[in-house]
C-alpha cells in the first residue's frame, strides 16, 4: 500500500517537472527515464505478473519503432495512423510469438532463450534488406507539426510520455484487480495448479504477451517520433532487451510502480557514471550489471519490496 502511495506521488511530481524547470538537460533526462519506464512496464506485465522472463523484448520495441518509420517513409502513411498500426503490429507479433512458444510449453530458461533468438532474427533481418534501411537504419524527415506527430517543443513529448506511463501503471493496477490478472498471477505462482483450477495457461500467457508486446510497441513508436531515427542495433539489439528487464527487476517485479522507480534510479546512475568517467563507452552497463547482481543478493524484491517489508515490520 505504502509503495502505491509513494508511486502515485512520484508520478504526480514527474507531471510538473516541465513547469518547474526549463533546463533541456533535466527534461531530456526525465523523458528518457519515462520512456524506459514504459518499456519496463511492458516487460513487467509478462515477467512480473506472468513470471515469464523474456530476454528479447527489443523485438517488440523495435517493431514499434521500425513499423511506424517504414510506414511513413516507404508508404507515405500519415504519422498518427502509422503509429497506431505499428502498435497493433507489435501486439499481433506478441500474440503470434506467444501462441507459438507457449503452445510448445517453453518456460524458464527456454523461454528466455527463444525470445532472445527471435529478437536476434529480427535484428539481422532488419540489417539485411534495403526495405528496412539495411545498415543505415530508418530516418524520418523532420517536419514539426502536431499532424506529423513531431513537436518542436520537448514538453509536449514529455507530457505524452508521462500520460502513457500513467496509463501503463493503470494497466498494472488493473492486472492486480481483474480476473485476467488473477489468472496470470496464478500461473506465475503454480502453472499446474492454475490449470487444475480451469485456467487456460496458453490463452492467458499469450494474451499477456500480446499486451506486453503492444506496450513495448508504444515505447518504440515514441522513441522513433522523438529521435526520428533508429537502426537495427538500437531498435532490436540486446541492450534494449536488457534495459527492458532491468527497470522492473530493480524497481520491484510484479508491482505497478516498480518499473518507474527502477527506470529513474537506473538512468540517474547511468548519468552519474557518464559524468564521472567522461562518457567512456560501456561503463554505465558495467554499473547496471553490478547493480543487478547486488540487488538480487540484498533486495530480491526490488525497491518496492523494501517499502513493503518496512510497511509490514
Amino acid at each position: 500500500m505504502r509503495h502505491r502511495v509513494f508511486g502515485a506521488a512520484l508520478l504526480a511530481a514527474l507531471g510538473v517537472v516541465p513547469l518547474v524547470t526549463s533546463s533541456e538537460f533535466w527534461l531530456t533526462f526525465f523523458l528518457m527515464a519515462l520512456l524506459f519506464a514504459l518499456l519496463g512496464q511492458s516487460w513487467n506485465v509478462l515477467g512480473g505478473y506472468g513470471g515469464q522472463f523474456s530476454f528479447g523484448h527489443a523485438l517488440f520495441f523495435g517493431l514499434g519503432a521500425y513499423a511506424t518509420g517504414i510506414l511513413q517513409v516507404r508508404h507515405g502513411v500519415p504519422a498518427w495512423p502509422a503509429a497506431i498500426a505499428a502498435v497493433a503490429i507489435a501486439a499481433a507479433v506478441g500474440a503470434a510469438v506467444g501462441a507459438l512458444v507457449f503452445r510448445y510449453r517453453l518456460r524458464g530458461s527456454y523461454f528466455a532463450l527463444v525470445t532472445l533468438a527471435f529478437a536476434e532474427v529480427a535484428r539481422i533481418l532488419a540489417a539485411s534488406f534495403d526495405y528496412t534501411g539495411s545498415g543505415f537504419g530508418i530516418l524520418i524527415a523532420l517536419a514539426p507539426g502536431a499532424g506529423n506527430f513531431q513537436f518542436a517543443d520537448r514538453r509536449v513529448f514529455y507530457w505524452l510520455a508521462w500520460a502513457l506511463v500513467c496509463l501503463g501503471c493503470l494497466v498494472a493496477l488493473w492486472l492486480e484487480r481483474s480476473r485476467f490478472g488473477a489468472r496470470l498471477i496464478a500461473i506465475r505462482e503454480n502453472e499446474a495448479a492454475a490449470q487444475a483450477l480451469g485456467i487456460d495457461p496458453l490463452r492467458t500467457k499469450t494474451l499477456a504477451l500480446a499486451l506486453s508486446g503492444g506496450i513495448a510497441g508504444v515505447a518504440g513508436v515514441l522513441y522513433m517520433q522523438i529521435f526520428l531515427f533508429a537502426d537495427s542495433h538500437i531498435a532490436f539489439g540486446p541492450t534494449m532487451s536488457v534495459e527492458a528487464l532491468l527497470a522492473p527487476i530493480i524497481g520491484g517485479l510484479g508491482t505497478a510502480f516498480g518499473p518507474l522507480l527502477g527506470a529513474i534510479l537506473l538512468h540517474a546512475l547511468g548519468e552519474v557514471a557518464r559524468h564521472a568517467t567522461g562518457g567512456a563507452p560501456g561503463l554505465s552497463l558495467v554499473l547496471y550489471g553490478v547493480l543487478l547482481i547486488v540487488m538480487l543478493r540484498f533486495l530480491p524484491d526490488g525497491i518496492a519490496g523494501l517499502a513493503r517489508r518496512r510497511a509490514r515490520g
Binding site: G108, A112, L113, V121, L125, G282, I293
Partner: protein
C-alpha cells in the same frame, strides 16, 4: 560441387570449436539446471587472455593452453561459489539473471579497457595447410578439430569414470540425495562451473590462431553455443558434440548459399525450430 565439400570440411572444423564451447555449457546446465548467460563473455575473456599471453609473454596459444585451463577453472569455480551462488539465493530465475549481470559486467569492462578494436595474432604456422584430398584445411583448424575431439573425450571420461564425475552425476540427478550421502553440493556446483569455464579457455586457445578477438565476440558465440546445446539435448555430451559439428556445417552451407549476413539466420532459424519442435534435442536430456 567443387565448393560443397570444402565448405562441409570447413564447417566441421568450426563445428568442433562450437562443440567444445557447448560442452562447457551443457555440463553447467546438466548440473545446475540453469543457462549460463556469461558463457560467451568468459570465452571472450579467454580469447583476450590467450591474445595477451602471445603479445606480452610471447607464449604460443597452444603452449598457453594448460595455463589458461587452470586459470579459467579457478575463475569459474570462484564465480559460481562466491558470486552466482551468493547473489541468487539458489533461485533458478535469479541464477539466470545473475549470469546475465555477469555478462554485462565482463563485456563492458572489456570494451572499456581494450576498446572495440579487432585484434589478431601472428603465428608462423597460420598459413600452412593439410591436404585431405577433398579439401585443403589450414593447419591450426586441423589441430583445433583433433584437440576439440580429444578434450571432449577426456571430459566424457572425467564425468563417466572418476569419483568427481560420479559426484557430479549424483548432484545433477538429485541434489538433496547427494547431500545426504555426504557430497558437498556447493563444491560440486562450483567444480562443474569451473570445468565448464575451462572448456571455454581451451576453445579460446584453439580458436585464436585463425580467429580474432573483440569485446563483442562472446555474444556471437553464446547464441551459437545455446543452439548447439539445445540441438544436442540439454545436458547431453554426445549431443553437444554432434550438435556442434552439425551446426558448423549448417552455418558454412547457409553462408555459401545465402551470403555472409543472412547465413547467420540459418543458425537462429534452426534454433527456434528445434526449441519448438523438439526441446529435448536430438539426444534426450540427461547427464552421462
Amino acid at each position: 560441387m567443387s565448393l560443397l565439400l570444402p565448405s562441409i570440411v570447413n564447417g566441421l572444423t568450426t563445428g568442433a570449436i562450437y562443440a567444445l564451447v557447448a560442452l562447457g555449457l551443457t555440463l553447467i546446465y546438466g548440473v545446475l539446471h540453469i543457462i549460463n548467460f556469461a558463457h560467451g563473455s568468459l570465452l571472450m575473456l579467454a580469447l583476450y587472455a590467450a591474445f595477451f599471453a602471445k603479445t606480452l609473454l610471447g607464449l604460443d596459444p597452444y603452449a598457453a593452453l594448460p595455463l589458461l585451463l587452470l586459470g579459467f577453472f579457478a575463475l569459474g569455480y570462484a564465480l559460481q561459489r562466491w558470486v552466482i551462488d551468493w547473489a541468487s539465493h539458489g533461485r533458478d530465475q535469479n541464477i539466470l539473471l545473475v549470469t546475465l549481470g555477469l555478462a554485462l559486467v565482463i563485456d563492458n569492462l572489456a570494451l572499456f579497457f581494450w576498446t572495440s578494436t579487432t585484434r589478431t595474432i601472428d603465428v608462423p604456422y597460420a598459413f600452412e595447410v593439410v591436404d585431405l584430398g577433398v579439401a585443403l584445411v589450414p593447419l591450426p583448424r586441423a589441430i583445433a578439430f583433433v584437440a576439440a575431439l580429444v578434450l571432449a573425450g577426456l571430459l566424457w571420461a572425467l564425468v563417466g569414470w572418476t569419483d568427481l564425475g560420479k559426484a557430479i552425476r549424483a548432484v545433477a540427478r538429485e541434489k538433496e540425495g547427494a547431500r545426504l550421502v555426504g557430497i558437498r553440493v556447493e563444491h560440486i556446483y562450483a567444480m562443474s562451473f569451473g570445468i565448464g569455464t575451462a572448456c571455454v579457455a581451451a576453445a579460446a586457445c584453439l580458436l585464436l590462431p585463425t580467429f580474432y578477438v573483440t569485446p563483442q565476440v562472446g555474444y556471437a558465440f553464446v547464441l551459437v553455443a545455446f543452439t548447439t546445446v539445445v540441438l544436442g539435448g540439454m545436458g547431453s555430451f554426445l549431443g553437444a558434440l554432434v550438435g556442434g559439428l552439425l551446426l558448423g556445417v549448417v552455418e558454412a552451407l547457409c553462408g555459401l548459399f545465402l551470403g555472409e549476413s543472412l547465413g547467420q539466420i540459418g543458425i537462429f532459424a534452426l534454433f527456434i525450430l528445434v526449441l519448438l519442435l523438439r526441446p529435448t534435442g536430438l539426444f534426450g536430456a540427461r547427464l552421462a
